[in-house]
């Protein structure tokens, strides 16, 4: 077990708690930077998808995992990001300008949907965001003069100072860079008053208010940041696809994001990244598994969705803390070996716990 002797207040607010962590994260970054040298195009594109989903996941995590506001409509913010990016590039905006604008516009939409959300909680909020997502989906399909309707739009390649970045590894690095910046921003937020206020709202609105947290302000901030980050991911997603149309942004995508943060582990940035890996890798594993199934079953069209559903159910039943929770348990198991107690993370179950009141 590692003991950290603290000698300075600064130590608690540093990004890395100890030298070992610095080493491992540095190694990870180096590995990610070197990866395109060994990965083939397909794997690289999958890695890019993981980065994009991780960014969107962090966006949703900030809202749902940290502020406790459930959203079933994040596909809408994602879509706003994608379409803004495509439209701005078509109008001749440079990428370095269009990407932040895409994020900001999605954030502005987030504020608009966040305003009614201030008075809503729990399931009402979930359904309101769901309703909002349906409306956005319909607008994308019907506002043909801008979005080109169901025909969809081509997305022009990234262009930075006249250099066209159209290769697979170009996008890989762009997405990686954005992901790193988003992670840093999120971690900074969480170790500062804003992040603490968000967590306070999640755990007890009344106490947060009594300690000086302006609920309306911080919920709006959470919505804005979450939507903006998701919008950034959407903009990158548009580049990854190269061609966007409304059917890429349905309720299924919102569910996928929700699955991502729950499977990854609610209330942790690691969780968002683990969840993104999971959501991207799962279909690959399913297609590998299909090779071992009798062909009558493997050829059924519904099998993918079925396995998807089964995995969600099993995960929630047996590992409700998510992948990150499992990771923490394994780490603890080895660092305290042989003293680890199985019940360490057992949650107290209760009959009366209600989330109707807050």
């Amino acid at each position: 077990m590692r003991f950290i002797f603290k000698t300075d207040y600064n130590q608690d607010i540093r990004l890395f708690k100890h030298g070992g962590a610095v080493f491992w994260y540095a190694l990870l970054i180096v590995a990610l930077i070197a990866a395109p040298l060994v990965l083939d195009r397909y794997l690289m594109s999958q890695a890019t998808f993981v980065f994009i989903y991780a960014i969107a996941g962090i966006g949703l995590m900030l809202l749902s995992g940290y502020t406790g506001q459930i959203s079933l409509g994040h596909a809408a913010f994602f879509a706003v990001g994608s379409y803004t990016e495509a439209i701005l590039l078509e109008k001749g905006f440079p990428f370095l300008l269009s990407l932040p604008i895409s994020g900001l516009l999605a954030g502005a939409v987030g504020v608009v949907i966040g305003l009614p959300a201030l008075r809503l909680a729990g399931i009402y909020l979930a359904i309101a965001t769901l309703a909002f997502a349906f409306i956005v989906e319909e607008i994308l399909a019907r506002w043909e003069s801008v979005t080109n309707g169901t025909l969809g739009m081509l997305v022009e390649p990234i262009n930075i100072f006249g250099v066209e970045l159209f290769r697979e590894w170009h996008l890989y690095y762009v997405c990686l860079a954005v992901l790193v910046l988003v992670v840093l921003g999120a971690v900074n937020l969480l170790r500062s008053p804003t992040g603490r206020a968000m967590i306070a709202i999640r755990d007890s609105e009344i106490a947060a208010q009594s300690m000086g947290v302006n609920l309306a302000k911080y919920k709006t901030i959470a919505f804005a940041i979450s939507a903006a980050v998701t919008g950034l991911a959407g903009a990158l997603y548009a580049h990854r696809l190269g061609y966007i149309s409304p059917e890429a942004y349905t309720i299924l995508l919102s569910v996928e994001f929700l699955l991502l943060i729950v499977v990854g582990g609610l209330g942790s940035i690691h969780g968002a990244v683990f969840g993104a890996i999971f959501v991207i890798v799962l279909p690959q594993i399913v297609s590998i598994l299909k090779g071992y199934m009798p062909s009558q079953i493997a050829e059924q069209t519904g099998i993918d969705a079925g396995i998807f559903g089964l995995v969600i159910v099993l995960f929630m039943l047996y590992e409700p803390l998510g992948l990150y929770g499992r990771w923490v348990k394994i780490k603890l198991y080895f660092s305290t070996f042989p003293m680890y107690r199985k019940a360490t993370f057992k949650r107290q179950k209760s009959y009366t716990k209600t989330e109707r009141l807050r």
């Binding site: 900074n188 007890s204 209330g267």
Partner: protein
């Protein structure tokens, strides 16, 4: 001029007058206790003061300002902090994070600078941390800094909640049944802390309490409520022997 005063305060829920025409003043530096049987309107009074409820009539003044219509999140910044009867902590955060949230009323850094964690944010964080460490020392919470609140025993949570209120450096501290759920030993500690809060930190305390032993030990003045009305006010002994109070508790 007293530090805190309520005049003719009242609230109705439907037809029920939960608090009816209550007036009292709390002088700077004293420990003022509200007692009364269950349902007497004590916690409702607290919720009115911390602005969770809007009073139907009456006025609340604090530090020379009328706070009857101040939004609830501004109360902490004005110097009033509170604890809750059944503990309202941030369960899935560490003790340290809970106490730091107590500093929220003093947080002045913006969202964008938070996201970039600019040098002045770091300096502010360290300053907050120093204040929080003072509270940790005061309440002997050193052992629990990094523990999640959800894993703490009830008695410790009660202390953490007190600490969170203290971290906001209040002028007036509202304690809603500080001894409920505590054993005798913990109640003793609580009595000492309340004494220290009054004498060493110079914080005025307004509390609700059932344990008459604790009330007698720490309070300067006591107000007794029944059915939303004030029935007696004075020193602990005077109030305890007041015939109306005896009647309220024993029935009849």
């Amino acid at each position: 001029m007293s530090l805190f005063a309520v005049e003719q305060l009242g609230i109705s829920f439907g037809g029920l007058r939960a608090v009816d025409q209550i007036s009292f003043e709390v002088e700077a530096g004293e420990v003022f206790t509200i007692i009364g049987p269950n349902g007497a309107g004590k916690t409702t009074t607290f919720n009115l003061v911390s602005r969770i409820y809007d009073p139907t009539d009456g006025r609340i003044t604090f530090d020379g300002e009328d706070i009857t219509r101040v939004p609830p999140h501004r109360i902490a910044g004005m110097g009033i902090a509170r604890t809750f009867q059944n503990i309202e902590l941030f369960d899935n955060a560490t003790v340290l994070a809970n106490l730091l949230l107590g500093r929220h009323a003093h947080a002045s850094t913006g969202v964008v600078s938070n996201m970039l964690f600019l040098p002045h944010v770091r300096r502010a964080e360290i300053a907050h941390r120093e204040k929080v460490e003072e509270v940790i020392d005061f309440l002997d919470l050193q052992a629990y800094r990094e523990t999640l609140v959800s894993g703490l025993p009830y008695g410790v949570r009660k202390v953490v909640e007190l600490g969170r209120a203290l971290a906001s450096e209040p002028k007036l501290l509202l304690l809603d049944e500080p001894s409920s759920g505590l054993n005798t030993e913990e109640t003793d500690d609580m009595a000492f802390w309340i004494g220290d809060i009054q004498k060493d930190l110079g914080i005025t305390v307004l509390m609700i309490e059932h344990d008459m032993n604790l009330v007698g030990r720490v309070s300067d003045r006591v107000l007794a409520l029944n059915y939303g009305r004030a029935i007696a006010m004075g020193t602990p002994d005077e109030v305890q022997s007041h015939p109306e109070v005896v009647k309220a508790y024993l029935g009849g």
